[in-house]
Subunit: 200 residues, 2 copies
Amino acid sequence: MPGRAIEFWYDFASTYSYLSAMRIDRLAAAAGVEVVWRPFLLGPIFKAQGWDSSPFAIYPAKGRHMVRDLERTAATRGLSFRMPRPFPAHSLLAARIALLGEEDGWVAPFSKGVFEAEFAHGADIAESATLARPLDDLGFDSADVLRRAGAPENKERLRARSEQAQARGIFGAPTFITRDGELFWGDDRLEQALDWPHNS
Amino acid sequence: MPGRAIEFWYDFASTYSYLSAMRIDRLAAAAGVEVVWRPFLLGPIFKAQGWDSSPFAIYPAKGRHMVRDLERTAATRGLSFRMPRPFPAHSLLAARIALLGEEDGWVAPFSKGVFEAEFAHGADIAESATLARPLDDLGFDSADVLRRAGAPENKERLRARSEQAQARGIFGAPTFITRDGELFWGDDRLEQALDWPHNS
């Protein structure tokens, strides 16, 4: 019988995905739940809803609260936080690399490295140099990984992944999905997702 | 020196305002914080953002998750929950009555009665009969209160209140504002708002 698991769907441009990425491994280990990291792109889903950017960029009052909320919540968790410029960041390349990491087993440490560079240090994750560093830290030939990330079949995998997200009912990030298909949206629901009793 | 206090801004059509209304008095008492109930209408703020209804009605995937999220969260809190029809409810009359209650000191029990009728029992709060019951429970002449609620000066007070909400940076409900002007959005942030250290 497979153990309890949740899929963690995230976009690298998402501030609340950062909050979850920095705590999900610890909380899931304590709860005895396996985490399956699922990078995807929110952009196509937002476009389908008629948005050409993040709702935090489109609606100023909502955006101001989000920044303040992140500052407060990060502080209570002992996390650094700063808003990257531009916001939302262009997360396409990071997501393509993360898909390779999913195949090869390094998606979690790579993703955490990207989130930290972006939201703790304010680096621009659209830049290859920003993404090369967490790859270097993992001991990889970053130039080679960046080349493989841009291969047509990998681009196609990310397109399919983001379509799958929409088909699963995902409309924002982070989203957590249990084995029995229960969907939880938002960092605030991580604990509920990990405690979900019918997760098998 | 005044004690610690938070303003609780809510719309009677808001599902997450229901969650907060049913627990805020208990949590605030435990935290030694006074609660100032502030009914208002979200409709004009949504309209200014280009929405002609609740975002939960406009975006189906978001709406489906909200219903499920409310079911799950209400269950963990021992609360009944059902979606009212129509959703969002027409909350104008309830808000007008609540403003009278604010003046006369019965806004909290009246508001809780309305939220329970709507979200625990599925009653339509656009109906005078639905709103008469919590007024009767408080021992009032409900016909008289309903008349006063419709007086021009009371209608004007609600318009001013909703404009004030927008001017304060409110974009959703529930919203909590501390004495020093710190704004917290969402039932999930009630604890943070009550714990805010600079609340004076």
